[in-house]
Assembly symmetry: C2
Homo-oligomer: 341 residues x 2
């Protein structure tokens, strides 16, 4: 168990620990004579010295760690986002502490407490639901908090999001262009801004045309596969004429809808077209491949990390929120549909 401390290095190099500290710090390296600095470097190397980030964190009041909270690690959408965050942190000596809430309210506040106790320097939250304002603002009193993906309007917390309203409009526009006149949405949870945005954008574009929008009598509790299936089943059971197109608020729910349709013998895309959201890698491989809305997750991760870092360095700033543009990716789940006479 090599317990090499700063003092050991100092002894070996024949200097005071404080000098070693300065020599090894890239910021303050210039405060130490070049010759003694290399002597110290050599000593540290020989002893296999490895700094103690815990001690450093205590003294400095900064741990070099960023908390990142995601709702669901099983949703591949978050992988590029997390990569964006980590790639931005790398090289700055920072590291991401990733935690999952599983979209569970109680878990969020536990996770926050945990991160706060560990004195992370900032927190990026991608799992916000309305109602979370209180705990988040409480956290914000201690360290910078940045929302990503999901906004909390009116909370005053900076947010980097996708323009989901625009994404919803894109989906609607696409369906309109292909001749749909009776459509429905499988809505994600209403207490999540991104789903609200998708729904609103979709509706507003549809309402500009002469289209019937069937509202299912329920909303997904979690934006996952099983919920997509359940909602689609309800829609099928609702008795009304079936819509010719479905806008699922994310890809996982679209998969579920696909499953429900298949089990009822309804064909996609022949009978019903489907649009998903997120451009999860798998959408290209389903039967049929799913038309979806692509979001720049990696860039969003980078930007969220960037604003978090600058918040750390420059103290509290006016909330600079930002919204990134989505793109529609057409695939067979809509392209294969044809208007019947």
């Amino acid at each position: 168990m090599a317990k090499v401390t700063l003092r050991d290095v100092a002894d070996r190099a024949g200097v005071h620990p404080s000098t070693v500290s300065r020599a090894l710090d890239p910021q303050k390296g210039s405060l130490v004579n070049e010759e003694t600095r290399t002597r110290i470097r050599v000593a540290a190397e020989e002893l296999g010295y490895q700094g103690n980030a815990v001690a450093s964190g205590l003294r400095r009041g900064r741990t070099g760690t960023l908390g990142v909270i995601v709702p669901d690690l099983g949703n591949p959408f978050f992988a590029p986002l997390l990569r964006g965050v980590e790639n931005h942190l790398e090289g700055r000596g920072l590291m991401a502490l990733i935690a999952e809430t599983q979209d569970d309210n109680g878990r969020l506040s536990r996770v926050l407490d945990n991160l706060l106790a560990r004195r992370v320097d900032a927190i990026i939250v991608t799992s916000a639901r309305s109602g979370d304002e209180r705990v988040l603002r409480r956290s914000q009193q201690q360290i910078p908090v940045v929302l990503a993906v999901r906004d909390l309007p009116g909370s005053g917390i900076p947010a980097i999001t996708h323009d989901d309203e625009r994404g919803g409009r894109l989906a609607a526009q696409h369906l309109l262009e292909h001749g749909h006149r009776r459509v429905a949405q499988l809505r994600g949870p209403r207490d999540v801004s991104s789903f609200r945005g998708r729904g609103a954008g979709f509706l507003s574009r549809m309402n500009e045309s002469d289209v019937i929008v069937v509202e299912p009598d329920d909303t997904a509790t979690y934006p996952r596969l099983a919920e997509g299936r359940r909602l689609m089943e309800r829609l099928l059971a609702q008795g009304d004429a079936l819509p010719t197109a479905i806008f699922a608020h994310n890809d996982l729910m679209a998969f579920g809808a696909l499953e429900a349709l298949a089990s009822q013998g309804v064909s996609c895309p022949r009978d019903v077209a489907i649009v998903g959201y997120n451009d999860t890698p798998m959408t290209a491989f389903t039967a049929p491949p799913i038309t979806t809305v692509r979001l720049p997750g990696y860039e969003l991760g980078r930007m969220a990390a960037d604003t978090a870092v600058s918040l750390i360095e420059n103290g509290e700033q006016p909330a600079t929120s930002l919204s990134l543009p989505p793109v529609l990716v057409p695939r067979a789940s809509t392209l294969g549909w044809q208007r019947r006479p």
Copy 2:
């Protein structure tokens, strides 16, 4: 910025900081009078006291943090595993520090250094490739290291794995039962134990029967979609008679193979059957749904976390390695194939 420390609580409760420390520690709570303990609790509550895990970590020499290294967060296979880890840690006051290597060798040692510097109490590594022994053993000199999913035979590092040899045999058995007599594997990286195991199990079962196993002239560098596509394309171009079944070493590669086949106009499962590995949720939704080998990822995560924790508590132990059984999940990608006359 509420900077409430132990001392503040002590002052308010009219006791010494050490008493507060003991009162708030579930382990040592019994060392302090019940009455003063509640007084302290009240004071802490009123001040909104939140322990400083950094200071505690420095003094105790334990941070209550476990490093977990995964190769690829975009692979949904790791989600249940990570949940297994976290659920086991929860309640014990521990937390997982998740890091991704992206199957990049240089990144692994950087990540390890980072975790070691942050003084995590143990590390769970699911990204091991042969050649990583050195850095891992170096880490092991400082804290417990547990391998999961991927073993490093002969390294002496405890490993919780799936029985991949058995998984490979299951895949082979399934294909044999359906009448295949000419098959091929899309192999994952050879320096990863789990892929070697799958390959060996598959081969050994096949060799017990009278079956031709076509070996592609290459191996995947990364077990991802693009590599699966590339390997399948090479196989198609190889000129020999096409195998009637493909065993892809994981689901992502199976997706890639599917894509390659489709682009060449070869039908799955009519012309070629496919077996994947991992039972990634999406395998049920591809065209066709993919037969695959299911692994108990959640349980594996729990067990890995459990051995890590007991290694922390009881010091170094004899390496107790363990192997969990896989299950074959038959789907249309093989069930839909029929022997031609």
